[in-house]
């Protein structure tokens, strides 16, 4: 096994990991783009999504140890799984917005962000109390096809799916925000909610829709997490969440392509850095990136708007 194919393998793994972070960062960054809220609860919604998906699968009689599905039954199961999970997490996001964040919409300062930390704690601990502290096995529905790339390096079907989904979502979301009426309403709300309201935009509806979309994306991300890694646990919202959050910050918080770029960078940092420096220092590397970006270039790699909110 030469050094090069190890590196190549780490690059492939890192990019796949990065796409996972990107999926999470996309929803997070979209919410930030509209209401300038750093929404820590986004990552707990993601974590909750894995348990929703697990429950849905169990209800459909699919467990981690049951025989693998194939063909039509696999496709229908996946469709049902994604629809239900994304709907549930989307509604959870709407619930969080309506109950916890709308009363604080016009409160300046850090109060809304503190609220989202509270919401995150509530969700994390509800899942901990319901499903217990151990990691749960997540049924591995997708086929384990893999193709050799070079030497021992290979790429799996799941990784290809992740790339495809991440890139497609990035394009679709960019299109949504830049080219549709809803997107225009979103951007107007982001610029000046009061002015948008006076132009006849239903700001509440825009914000709710943004939360629904962002949380539904978190739900989709959670399913990819479960399908890709084959497990879930109450703590993944925190560990994965903070890395996804760093991705969004690195790419430029509020920027949709930035979320994907940031995710890929963080994924590569984690896999290559883990290989070169040691896995135990991964978090130090990632949080150092977070601090450096915040301090030296708060608008991130692709962000256009420097942070304004005091």
């Amino acid at each position: 096994m030469s050094g090069l194919d190890v590196v190549l393998q780490q690059v492939v793994n890192g990019l796949a990991l990065g796409m996972m972070y990107a999926l999470l960062a996309l929803g997070f960054t979209m919410v930030y783009g509209i209401i300038e809220l750093i929404n820590f609860s986004h990552f707990s919604v993601f974590m909750t999504g894995t348990f929703v998906g697990l429950t849905v699968l169990n209800l459909m009689g699919v467990t981690a140890v049951s025989r693998s599905l194939s063909g039509l039954s696999l496709v229908t199961t996946l469709i049902a799984l994604f629809l239900v999970t994304m709907l549930v997490t989307g509604l959870l996001g709407v619930l969080i917005e309506r109950v916890c964040l709308r009363p604080l919409r016009n409160v300046s300062g850090t109060a809304p962000m503190i609220t989202t930390i509270g919401v995150a704690f509530i969700l994390i601990n509800l899942m901990l109390l319901t499903f217990g502290p151990q990691a749960q096995r997540f049924p591995s529905l997708l086929p384990n096809w893999r193709w050799p790339l070079m030497g021992t390096a290979e790429i799996t079907f799941k990784q290809l799916v992740l790339f495809a989904v991440g890139l497609v979502l990035m394009v679709v979301l960019s299109h949504l925000v830049k080219r549709t009426t809803l997107g225009k309403a979103m951007r107007a709300t982001a610029q000046d909610a009061d002015a948008a309201r006076m132009m006849g935009i239903d700001v509440d509806r825009v914000v709710v829709l943004t939360f629904f979309l962002g949380s539904a994306l978190a739900g989709a991300g959670s399913l990819f997490f479960g399908l890709y890694y084959g497990f879930t646990g109450y703590y993944i919202g925190y560990t994965t969440g903070l890395r996804a959050f760093t991705s969004a910050v690195l790419g430029g918080i509020g920027s949709i392509p930035g979320a994907v770029l940031g995710g890929l960078c963080i994924g590569l940092t984690q896999s290559l850095g883990g290989q070169l420096i040691g896995v135990k220092w991964t978090d130090v590397m990632i949080f150092s990136i977070l601090i450096f970006v915040m301090v030296l270039r708060p608008s991130g790699l692709l962000g256009v708007r420097a942070p304004q909110k005091a």
Binding site: C100, G109, F121
Partner: protein
Amino acid sequence: MRGLGARLGLDRWRALPLSRRRQILTPVLLGLGLLFPVLTGNAGNVDAAANAFTYVLLALGLNIVVGFAGLLDLGYAAFFAIGAYGYGIAASGQLKPEWSGFWTPLEWAGQVSRLVVPGQADSVQFHFTFWPMLAVSAIICAIFGMLFGAPTLRLRGDYLAIVTLGFGEIVPVVARNWEGLTNGAQGLGGIRTPRLFGFDFGFSPYPYYFLGLALVAAAVWISIRLQESRVGRAWMAIREDELAAGAMGVDHVHYKLLAFAMGAAVGGLGGTFYVAKLTTATPDMFTFPVSVMVLVMVVLGGLGSIRGVVLAALFVAFLQSVILQDLTEYVHALGRLVGSDALQKVELITSLELIFGIILVLMMIFRREGLWPAVRKVSALTREQQTAAPSRGTAVELGWARPEAAGGPGRPLLEIAGLRKSFGGVAAADDITLTVHAGELVSVIGPNGSGKTTLFNLVTGLIRPDAGSIRLEGREIGGRAPHEIVTAGVARTFQNIRLFNNLSVMENLLVGEHARLEAGVLGAIFRPPRVRREEQRAVERALEGVAIFGNRLLPRLDHPVYGLSYANRRRTEIARAIMTRPKVLLLDEPAAGMNPAETLELMDLIRAFRGLGITIILIEHKLDVVMDVSDRVVVLDHGVKIAEGAPAQVRNDERVIEAYLGRRRRAA
């Protein structure tokens, strides 16, 4: 409710002055604290209380950072960890460096000993004593507080919080991985317990209880002293409006770092105390949930409210150690009674973080000021005060002013030459040259967007000039920091009033005096006679400043300024600017939003300032006012000075009329 309060004498209690209440409360609370172990007679409760004091220390420390200075720190547990490991490493056998002459003085002082193992090089055994380490840990934490705070200085709000979160994540990882220093995930063990006069604290909770009580008392005392000082006012000014604080002479870099350092130091005390009691330190004790727990305490008690934070920290600590466990037993008993297996298995302590989450959300939505916020004793206006005819300050007197400087243009005071500033290609100041003489009143007029406020921002250092010089009394002030320019003698008001909204009129004025006072941290804490006198004089001068406006502000001294009328807020802002004892006062549309009578009153006042020798530059849109009071009028248009001269002269200037009304189209 009110009846009950009155029956209990609460009203009479509240009517007592704050200092008197403190004189009564301090011995009562201390006595209760000292008697608690006797009263409860239960070693378990004493132990819980001793642990709770750790949380109180942490909460008080975070309160300095978040409550006073408004800097949300989400990684505060880092300082708890650094303090804990600081003492833990110094008082355990973790590090065994090779012996050298460096250690001899420490050996002599009884802090280390020389370990002789046959066949190996001699090494050093650490056993630093607790008491000096308490101070050393606090200092180490203060240094780290500044290190972690320094990168956040330009950031605000959420972004600052994220950087602190990053540091809070990094510290436990380092503690886990740097095994040589910290013994990794297993943590430090065998940490020596404190000794006092040969008495070893050992493992009994009682000595720790009293030590903790003493530390908490000290932290409360320090917090109160800081809050009611020049330092505390500077922090609150930054919290309320950083930009205005700078324009009043507060150096935000200095005071933010100071807040991080003080907050971290108190957290370090907590960490040192905690490991000395526990005799072990592991990386898990300092993770994000701990930072959030401390934040919950501060939010629950009320940001900036010392008593609220202490009570909330005690509550949260007892919730964890006593209340939830007792409740669990009740639930189990209930389970046995009704024969429910599920109820008998409930462990409420596992839902502690859930409760934290719920507390955060509920407090943010319903009671952001906390359960027991810092009170602001506001005296309601009497009927007479409310209906009193406004009296003008008959004769404006300011002890520090130099009226002899008045009386017409003297030597050049403020010299602006070749000043340029552009924003993305638009020149807001294009080669402006202007000299203002001592005692003069110069007005700056011009259409909207002509660069008037930009000129003020350049002079006061809020924005840096691209080119050109600004000299005050011959000394260059262009490009200097706002607080330095205030100290040099330039003060301003803002077009869209920028007061410290949650502070009282008096506090706003005292912040205005910031640059003219000297008390630092130690002065604030120990309050020597020098500082005491300084504070007294500061209050006297603030009263002098309020008297400028007759009976307008006087009855409202202790009112928070957000409740004042528009005109009174303008007046407060002018008084605050005057408190900086300016040589040059820059007034940005002071008459905006004032009715004609108020405007006239203001004009009298401006003339009075001139009589006191204060040089004034005025931006104003009410041209009749400008023409009436000014010695000289400067007209700006598109960042260019297009005219300058006596009011009558400028009024008839062709270019001025053109700038205001547009070019007359000539018939071909």
